[in-house]
Each structure stands twice: as C-alpha cells, then as structure tokens.
Subunit: 209 residues, 2 copies
Amino acid sequence: MAKSGPTGAVARSIREGTRSRIVEAAVQTIKERGFAATSARAIAATGGFNQALVFYHFGSVNDLLIAALDHTSELRMARYRAAIDSVDSMPELLAVASEAYQEDLAGGHIKVLAEMIAGASAMPELGPAIAARMQPWITFTEDAVIRVMARSSVGPLVPSRDLAFAIVSLYLGAAMLTHLTEDPAPAESLFRTGAKVGPLLELVTLRGA
Amino acid sequence: MAKSGPTGAVARSIREGTRSRIVEAAVQTIKERGFAATSARAIAATGGFNQALVFYHFGSVNDLLIAALDHTSELRMARYRAAIDSVDSMPELLAVASEAYQEDLAGGHIKVLAEMIAGASAMPELGPAIAARMQPWITFTEDAVIRVMARSSVGPLVPSRDLAFAIVSLYLGAAMLTHLTEDPAPAESLFRTGAKVGPLLELVTLRGA
DNA sequence: GTCTATACTTGGATAGAC
DNA sequence: GTCTATCCAAGTATAGAC
C-alpha cells in the first residue's frame, strides 16, 4: 500500500521540483524588477529560497535566465499557435495578433522578452542563446504569412521570409518602445489602425474575388 | 600681441575640450565593447585619461552616457535630415532610408543606439532620458511620411502618426535583431525587397496618375 | 583641472556544515 | 539538497595631493 504524500505548498514544491520554483521566481523577478536587478540574491528573495540554490541547480545566473526565457517562450508559442493555426485570412490574423499582443503586454511576457533582449547586450555571452530563441518566432510567423498570402493575388510577389522578418522586427521594436516609454498608447493605436486597414488590403488583393 | 598656442594633439584637446574627448571616448567604448563593459574605467582607458574625470565633468557615468547618446543622435539626425528633406516620392525615400541604414550599420551608430536602449533596461533611471530622445525620430519620420503620402490617393486613409511609429519600430526592431544575431543578411534582404516593392506601391496609389 | 589612492557597495560564486 | 558564511572581482564615487 502506497504511503500518502505531503499536501499543500510542500507537495506543490516537491511535485514541481525546486528547479521549477527557481525558474518561476526568475521570471517574476525580471517582470517586477527588470534584468539589471535580477541577481541571484534578488531571485532567491522573490522565491523565498536560498541564493546558493541558483548555482547548485543551474550553475550560473545566466544559465538560469536562459531557462526562464525558454519557459515563457514555450508558453507563449503554444498560445500563439493555438490562436493562429485556425486562421487563414488577413483580417482574422491581424485581429488575433492584436489580441495576443494585449495579452502579452498585460501578462508581462513582453517585458520579459524586452528585458532579456536588452540584457543580451549587458551580458554578451547571453546573445547567441537569445538569438537562437528568436528563430522559431520568425519561422512561425513565416508559416502564418505563407498561409494567408496564398489567398492573395500579390502573394507570390512578396518574399515570405522578408515579410516574416519585418513583422517580428515590428513587433519587437514596438514592444521595446512601449517598454521604454511606458506608454502603451502608440502601439495600441497602431494595432487598431492595422485592424482597420487589413480588410481593405484583403479586398484589393484577394485572388479571383 | 597674442601669444601663439600649443599645436597638434594638445591643441586639439584644448580646442575640443576635455568634455568632448570624454564623450567621444564613451561613444567609442560603447561601439567596441558594448554597454555592459562601458564603465568609467573602460571609458578612461579608451580615451587615455583618468577615470575620476568622468565624475568631475559629468557627475556620473549615466549622465555621460546620455551626453554620448545626444552627441551621436545629433550627428545622425543631421545626416538623415539632409538626405530626406529633398525627397518626396516613396521609391526615393526607401532608397535613401536603405542607404542611411547601411551607413548606420557600418559606422556603428546602430550599435550605439541598440546598446543604449538595451542599457535603459539595465539602468532603469536611464529609461526616461532615452525615451525622450526617441521622440524626435518619430516626429521626424512623421514629417517625411506626410510629405510622401500627400502624393498618394490612399494618403488620407493612413494616420501618419501610426505609420511613423511603425516605421521607427520596424527600424529599431530590425536593428536589435541584427545586433543580436550578428547577421546583417535578413535586414539587408528586407531593405532590398522594400526597394523593389516601393515603386510598385507608388504606381498603384499615385494620386491622379 | 587632473592625478593617485582608496573607501564602499554589489553581486557571482564556492566551501563546508547540516 | 539546502543552508550559512565567506571570498573575490568589478565598479562607482570621493578625498586630497599636485
């Protein structure tokens, strides 16, 4: 007969593992205090554990931060994939992208991304790891672009790779500017305008409509 | 009768002032070593002067960095203004923008901008100062957009502020990605594609053509 | 105005007890 | 696996001689 395990917070801690607790504390610390303030000591304070655990489990603060970025990236990618896979028209795509952006902003995901990319400059050895984690987003965007452009008469004229790079750049740049100025209004206005212009574009370019 | 002054490097130093020497050393250090490595000690080593001078002349490293950003921003703004003020068609504008981007990349201006924006996350007290220094670029871009769109039949439909914000975001995001991956190819490909698509757009939308 | 020397702080990282 | 205690490096900033 199996002995019954612990319950409550302790059980949660064991089930999720200390590693997960540390990763989540790292994400939360970046969101709340920014990259620069996310030291091993600050992460430990956020999560309520000892500073030395960071090094025991991850070897270095940098390796922990990369694990944290992986963690949020996976969550966000799953969210975007579910929202976009069922979409194949430009207006729908813009609407979904706008909605997901609002979620990212409210949930602090944008802040984590912006802080990590910014941090890559502060810790150059972090650069390649973060760059590698941007590639899936470009590929993902390119897939969506190809699907939507297939219905357009100008689709074949626009290199999908360039358009995907432009979209990711635009998203990233808008996130950095929003994050920098702490003023969400310009980006929101841009998304609203995009939602209005999208259907127009579709009208003009729809193949064989 | 005026006594003749010193010559050579010494004269240059006096004429430009120590402040300028320090600012230029700061810019060069950011370009060569990145934001994180741009400490008072590193700047002093680059410029061949004493570390304490940074604090005597600027009070803090942060204040020096802001002065350095002002310095490069003024140079770049003058360059862009001269190039763009004489332009009023979309293809020309894209060509000029592409050229200026190449210059920025080669001259390291993009690196300075990217490092400073990244650094704003690392040093939160730097954020507002840098945000304020992005505004002139959005306004400048909006002016160019308004002039070019005046010739287009769809011009009145596109809010110029949104388009300007999008262009600056795209530029910034592309710069950050290029900087991060150290691969200039995607951004260059995007600019080439833009140069091809621009004339097409103009053909389609030219007012009363 | 510019230098040397140094006080002070923060944070990464490890040793060793438990 | 987790804790306490500590070492060490790097950097800001200042005091005070020149």
